[in-house]
């Protein structure tokens, strides 16, 4: 394929468009409420009304407002139908000809949609994820062509440095710096890995991106591979996401057929192959060295760094490892320029971030906002606040590695530094809202149980520490603990945080520490008086017989 073919494909796809497009959400959330049946009914109704030449029913990716699914959008009337079912689907077609739709509608200009700024999700809910032509029509693969034919690998890396993108996996490491390090590492064979092991419970951004726009991730990986000089890529995706796996397989096959992956991409000397690796349910595999060990077919156990993966990673070769959302940002950055991207967001955190809003909140779903947006805007204005007149108590970010941000800090801008100051982390973007009925000690215990189960067992602080901390939290929650136990818990938190081998152990105490920081009274209310006095002075020394 050359540029002409790409433009021809784009024009052909655009010319073939019908006058009216009905977009029907086919992401996992809506699929579970039978959006497939809705789509079939819509197609049948179109055929019955003889509108095949005018109306296209397009299966698209996530349309963001997951709680109201299945969603159907009619762009000709600027209407968004919610909770569509097989019965009221035909009325949507009737409404095209002046009838009355019986499906409920929601305002597509509501703050939830209007305040979003889409880069990663720009194609989500618009293009058909199972047809590469649909992605090409949305300017897809143009950035790859430009990178391959008009830029040297060094220029590609420089653009990435200039745009200021930081890793969206959670830690926020500058992407350009990572690319530059891998590009400079000597080695004949290099790898690019996409981390799609979205293990944080409560996060589903990566799943949505892979289900809605898999080609943007593939294009981003190809550009990255060209920049660092790799010819083999792996996408490590969770087995819990069967739809994302299926769509990726289709996308890889289609891209290979058109010569956009494989050897001699765009008739340049650049080769790049992508293979899928299916995870098998281990949270620790989100850690980069554990993930690589899992790709090699071993137990997913982390190893000490250095050497960093950029120098010695997969099979001992220099390896570039980025998150799904990071790669999904890449094509747009090269299409619109580094300056355009750098103008969005805050000084230290550029661009946008996708969040998965869930929990005790009215509008659950996906949203993408510029970095630095206040938490209050996301939760109260866009999310619609707590349902049934409840009040928001805290917002949990960063999953089992993050913390709870109490309601008095809701005006915090969302960026890497501000969240870090509150003892939480940006994480991959899961945002769980909790209302006043949520017991914070139980939440801390829930996350500790998670970390205890998921600890790989390689290093002692994490393996033994999480068990002890869980035990202490369990005792506190069951009103069997004293002040001394709480002090012991805090001491253990500090120890595990500072001595664990990998990120899992180092961040495992975070939910406990942050709930202790903001909701200490809830812990103290559960404590019992110490029979041996506050300092334990009255306790008899242990004597050996």
């Amino acid at each position: 394929m050359i540029l002409n073919d790409l433009i021809q494909t784009k024009e052909k796809e655009q010319a073939g468009r019908k006058k009216i497009v009905l977009r029907c959400c086919m992401a996992a959330g809506c699929m579970s409420t039978d959006s497939k049946g809705v789509k079939e009914q819509l197609e049948k109704a179109v055929a019955d009304a003889g509108l095949q030449n005018e109306v296209e029913v397009r299966g698209v990716g996530c349309m963001k407002l997951c709680c109201e699914g299945p969603l159907v959008a009619d762009d000709s009337k600027n209407a968004l139908y919610v909770k569509v079912n097989a019965e009221n689907a035909p009325s949507i077609i009737a409404a095209l000809k002046g009838g009355q739709a019986t499906a409920p509608q929601t305002d597509p200009n509501a703050p939830f949609f209007a305040k979003q700024f889409a880069i990663v999700l720009a194609n989500s809910g618009v293009v058909d994820p199972e047809r590469i032509e649909s992605y090409i029509a949305a300017d897809g693969y143009q950035a790859l062509h430009e990178a391959l034919h008009e830029m040297t690998p060094k220029e590609v890396v420089d653009t990435m440095v200039k745009c200021g993108l930081r890793g969206r996996g959670g830690a926020g490491f500058p992407t350009g710096l990572k690319w530059g390090t891998v590009a400079k590492s000597p080695g004949a064979k290099k790898y690019v890995i996409c981390n799609a092991d979205e293990g944080d419970p409560g996060a589903f951004m990566d799943r949505s991106v892979l289900e809605s726009d898999p080609h943007s991730v593939l294009e981003g990986m190809a550009i990255a591979a060209y920049a660092v000089g790799a010819d083999q890529g792996y996408i490590y995706v969770r087995a819990e996401y069967p739809l994302a796996i299926a769509r990726l397989q289709i996308a890889i096959k289609q891209a290979k057929q058109l010569g956009l992956l494989g050897s001699g991409i765009f008739e340049s000397p650049f080769n790049f192959n992508v293979d899928l690796r299916i995870g098998a349910g281990a949270f620790v595999c989100g850690e980069e060295t554990a993930l690589m060990s899992s790709v090699e077919g071993k137990r997913g156990v982390p190893r000490p760094r250095p050497p960093f993966p950029a120098e010695s990673g997969l099979f001992g070769c220099p390896t570039l490892l980025n998150n799904v959302e990071t790669f999904a940002n890449v094509p747009t950055i090269y299409r619109k320029g580094a300056d355009w991207f750098a103008a969005i967001g805050t000084e230290k955190s550029k661009g946008t971030k996708v969040f998965a809003l869930a929990g005790k909140i009215k509008n659950t779903g996906l949203l993408e906002v510029p970095m630095g947006t206040p938490l209050r805007q996301i939760v109260e204005e866009m999310g619609g606040g707590a349902p049934d007149g409840g009040t928001i108590k805290a917002v949990q970010t960063g999953g089992p590695s993050g913390g709870c941000i109490p309601s008095q800090h809701l005006d915090t801008p969302v960026d890497y530094e501000s969240l870090g100051k509150l003892g939480s982390i940006m994480g991959s973007g899961g945002m769980i809202v909790m209302d006043e009925t949520t017991n914070m000690v139980e939440i801390a215990r829930f996350f500790m149980e998670f970390c205890m189960d998921e600890s790989c067992g390689k290093c002692v602080p994490c393996r033994a520490g999480t068990v002890q901390m869980h035990h202490l939290l369990d005792q506190i929650a069951n009103r069997q603990a004293t002040h001394r136990d709480l002090a012991k818990l805090e001491e253990l938190c500090d120890l595990v945080r500072n001595t664990s081998l990998c990120g899992l152990g180092q961040t495992a105490p975070n939910p406990t520490l942050s709930t202790l920081r903001f909701f200490r009274n809830e812990y103290e209310a559960l404590l019992q008086s110490d029979p041996y006095g506050p300092n334990g002075a009255a306790r008899k020394p242990i004597t050996t017989a």
Binding site: A280, A358, T364
Partner: protein, 175 residues
């Protein structure tokens, strides 16, 4: 010492290969391994396929994989036990997977589990004695927008309640 360890193992390997020769599914698995050129780093892919074919990973099956991929049995067993997705015991006829991600948890997924445990005397990870129902939990199936989510035999169901879960399981049990 070596001789007395090696002998029974040799017999075991022969027994496994004999057992495998009579079952078509082993053939399919071998074809799958061939597709990966018997590469040792494809172990997890191979185990996925094996579980898909057999439903769970029994010892003979793991030994078969280790022979074919030329890996020590300890390595295959180590990987199979490390990942939650691999089941080493036979599963019930129906599987009820309750998502225990944070969003589902704050919306009461634990109450669904409690209700099922109480009614059917089966804890998460266990199968009922009549082999009809396996109760499992998932870390997060990414369906947080429709929490709490329960997966009945592969079908994701949104906004589950203890009542709805018990009803669905009742349908299975009375069949």
């Amino acid at each position: 010492m070596n001789a007395c360890v090696a002998k029974p193992q040799k017999k075991r390997i022969q027994a496994v290969l004999e057992h495998a020769s009579g079952d078509k599914r082993f053939k399919i698995l071998e074809v799958h391994m061939k597709k990966h050129q018997f590469r040792q780093d494809a172990l997890i892919e191979v185990l996925h396929k094996a579980q898909e074919l057999f439903g769970y990973l029994e010892d003979d099956l793991l030994l078969f994989v280790s022979i074919k991929l030329k890996l020590p049995p300890s390595r295959v067993y180590g990987v199979a036990t490390f990942y939650h997705f691999f089941q080493l015991k036979p599963q019930g006829e129906h599987a009820c997977v309750v998502c225990m991600g944070t969003a589902c948890y704050v919306k009461g997924a634990d109450k669904i589990i409690d209700a099922i445990t109480l009614k059917h005397k089966v804890r998460p990870g266990e199968t009922t004695p009549d082999n009809k129902l396996s109760l499992l939990t998932a870390r997060c199936i990414g369906a947080c927008g429709i929490a709490p989510a329960v997966v009945y035999d592969g079908t994701v169901t949104p906004r589950a309640t203890p009542q709805s879960a018990l009803e669905q399981i009742n349908q299975w049990m009375t069949k």
